[in-house]
């Protein structure tokens, strides 16, 4: 893991003092709410429906056990005993007091964390593969490059007042677990014919009210040129991005309106001025950051664990959890364990202070003190010995974190919706709770298999409904909540935007509609075919017919 040096520590401490000063000026009346707003937003502090909300950055979704324990403490001391992990791999607290926000930032700074640029029209937290450093398909560790981008983008003097917010995602593996094609800039680590590592640079992806898949801007950027190329991409956006309409201000609209070719030409021209200058990344700095992500001291173990195999055979519940929640690790004898934050009838992404502290303990005991947050709003222990997996599972069960539903229709991504958010048109959480209850039967859930279901409470699409295999969008029709369903979305390397299946459903109808869609898939699937593959083979027609009757 990256560990702060004196320079990093100084910056977050300076930030805490700056914000303490700003809050003091606000409370004394020296600053009006209007003047204070942009300042608090730059520190992740939003004013929501009922209270302030503080969004804390979890850079590229990586946490140490110490950091996770601190997040639990903050939930207990400053909030109502829980926190909410988000689709941007961050955590949000829904009930902090304004006067205590600087203290929370100080507590975070103590464990090398902050809330810088978790809001505002700037470069947000860089997101990445939650299995980084553990997945077998990885070409290079994306955390190295994500940390380099985190530092470069932090308090960037030129790009802190962009037309709109800006999200960068990095994947180091061909199987994209970071949804890079629906980000403002998506970076794919590749190897060229000479065997050298470099980056594919994509731009213009995004969700919101105008969902778009990113376009490839350059197929190879060398490591030393990463920041100069990013700077050129950002400068062209800062210069030409629309500022007349906030709904048309994201880079996706620019790339769409002027075309990927012209955007590329502008970037390349800008890059010629930047590439050989001060922006060139020194090898020594790349090496320093790479060293921070050196693999932990893995033991030499057999590929097969006798204990694990025996428990798989003896304990059906364990076997079920392993099937849905455990992924292959690159090192023999280890596994990646995904902890579902989607209990039946629960709030997707929520964890209590006790659960966070328990996960911190488990990480220390069984995963080299590492935890990850996924964009699906789950947690990951990336390096667990197969020999320890059963004990981990028992321990997770004791704190109600053993729900065996990762990747299934029960593993719902949902935004906070109208229960918390001032932008929402409809509630998301109750809909997700009812759907997860409908599919609570584990045999049925596992028979349905891999299926992503994402819910957003408004067109801003924080619940990523466009890229769910099944997407649900809450809309307001004359004061009543309705839900529009899309099918066929994907957030992986074959990213696709879902298509609207037909007229929206009322709150009472939406759960039945989802069940009808799932049953239609079961009827039509070929052996071994996942939901999204059946959809891609058959299109909307059979689902439409099942939902609305023959035309």
């Amino acid at each position: 893991m990256y560990v702060y040096d004196q320079l990093d520590r100084q910056l977050v401490n300076d930030r805490v003092e700056e914000f303490r000063d700003q809050v003091r000026r606000r409370i004394s009346g020296e600053l009006t709410e209007e003047q204070f707003r942009p300042l608090r937003l730059m520190n992740g502090l939003y004013l929501q429906l009922h209270a302030y909300m503080l969004r804390v950055a979890v850079p590229y979704g990586q946490l140490s056990a110490v950091q996770m324990r601190r997040l639990g403490r903050i939930a207990r001391v400053y909030d109502k005993g829980y926190g909410h992990f988000t689709t941007r791999q961050n955590i949000q607290y829904n009930w902090p007091k304004l006067s205590e926000a600087p203290d929370i930032l100080a507590e975070l700074a103590e464990v090398e964390m902050h809330a810088i640029q978790t809001s505002g029209n700037c470069i947000r937290n860089t997101t990445s593969d939650p299995f980084a450093g553990a997945a077998a398909d990885e070409i290079d560790d994306p955390r190295v490059w994500s940390e380099i981008i985190r530092q470069w983008s932090t308090l960037h003097p030129e790009f802190s007042f962009l037309p709109r917010k800006f999200k960068i995602a990095v994947t180091g593996a061909p199987n994209d677990r970071a949804a890079i094609k629906v980000h403002d800039i998506g970076i794919v680590i590749v190897r060229n014919a000479a065997g050298e590592i470099g980056f594919e640079m994509w731009a213009g992806g995004g969700q919101g009210r105008t969902p778009m898949i990113a376009r490839l801007i350059r197929d190879f950027v060398a490591p030393k040129d990463l920041l100069s190329y990013l700077e050129a991409m950002m400068r062209v956006y800062n210069r030409f991005g629309r500022r007349d309409n906030k709904y048309k201000a994201r880079i996706k609209i620019l790339v769409h309106e002027i075309g990927a070719e012209r955007y590329r030409d502008e970037v390349e021209a800008e890059w010629q001025d930047l590439r050989h200058g001060a922006m060139e990344l020194p090898q020594a700095e790349i090496a320093r950051i790479r060293a921070a992500f050196a693999p932990p001291a893995f033991a030499t173990l057999p590929a097969v664990s006798e204990k694990h195999q025996a428990k798989l055979f003896e304990d059906r519940a364990y076997a079920r959890w392993v099937k849905s929640n455990v992924r292959a690790h690159k090192v023999d004898g280890y596994a990646i364990a995904v902890i579902s934050l989607k209990p039946v009838g629960g709030i997707p992404g929520d964890a209590t202070a006790e659960q966070m502290e328990a996960v911190a303990d488990f990480a220390e005991r069984w995963s080299f003190s590492e935890v990850r947050v996924t964009h699906e709003q789950n947690l990951v222990l990336p390096h667990v010995r197969l020999d320890d997996l059963y004990d981990l599972w028992l321990a997770l069960g004791a704190v109600e974190l053993d729900t065996p539903n990762v990747g299934t229709v029960g593993d719902i991504i949902a935004c906070p919706g109208l229960d918390y958010c001032s932008l929402a048109n409809a509630r998301s959480i109750p809909v997700s709770q009812r759907i997860s209850e409908r599919f609570a039967d584990l045999d049925r859930l596992h028979d349905i298999g891999e299926l992503t279901l994402n819910i957003s409470g408004c067109i801003n699409a924080c619940g990523h409904h466009h890229v769910g295999n099944i997407g649900i969008l809450g809309v307001d029709k004359k004061g009543e909540e309705f839900y529009q369903i899309t099918l066929g979305g994907r957030a992986d390397e074959n990213a696709a935007i879902g298509k609207i299946v037909g007229p929206a459903f009322s709150t009472d109808q939406v759960t039945d509609a989802i069940e009808t869609i799932v049953e239609t898939y079961i009827q039509h699937r070929e052996p071994g075919e996942r939901f999204v593959e059946t959809y891609e083979r058959l299109g909307l027609a059979p689902f439409k017919e099942a939902l609305y009757g023959a035309a």
């Binding site: 300076d14 029209n121 003097p157 007042f161 400068r235 020594a284 700095e285």
Partner: protein, 168 residues
């Protein structure tokens, strides 16, 4: 209007002129880009002339002119409209402009460090603003993660400095 320059509050002696007559008066004048383009040859002889560049303009429009200009004024129609940050860096870093780059518009003190880092050296201060807050913001940080148009030393150079460079 007061001008914040080099950490000090000055009386702004420059005036805006939008006609040639006005522009030819003694002392420093700032002229709109269009007037400069139309009357370049006449205005060139004047020692203290600056151009007000709209934030939609490409700094390359003044490519042959920077050596003759004493100042460029860049505009922030709203504090959240950050286009001029990019313009300032391009004018300093690509065109090598050494004169004054001034910021105008409803800026907030929390932007002062960013302005300085992007190459601005003067700010037309909004009415009633407390200069102490501006100055405090300029001194707030000592870690800088990215090279820009200023001479603040970027973090990676401090981390990998040779002993001589670290001492300087």
């Amino acid at each position: 209007m007061a001008l914040l320059k080099n950490g000090r509050l000055l009386e702004d002696r420059w005036v805006d002129a939008d006609s040639l007559d006005g522009a030819l008066r003694p002392g420093g004048v700032l002229v709109p880009l269009e007037l400069w383009k139309a009357e370049r040859l006449t205005l060139r002889g004047k020692s203290a002339v600056g151009v007000v560049l709209p934030n939609t303009a490409d700094p390359a429009e003044l490519a042959g002119d920077y050596e003759r200009l004493a100042a460029v004024a860049l505009q922030f129609p709203a504090f959240a409209d950050g286009r001029a940050f990019s313009q300032a860096r391009v004018i300093r870093e690509k065109h090598g402009f050494k004169g004054e780059i001034r910021a105008r518009g409803p800026l907030i003190p929390d932007q002062y460090l960013y302005l300085l880092r992007c190459g601005f050296d003067a700010v037309e201060l909004p009415e009633g603003t407390d200069i102490e807050v501006w100055l405090r913001n300029a001194r707030r940080y000592t870690t800088f993660y990215q090279p820009a148009a200023d001479d603040r030393v970027v973090a990676w150079r401090r981390r990998h400095a040779t002993p001589e460079a670290a001492a300087s």
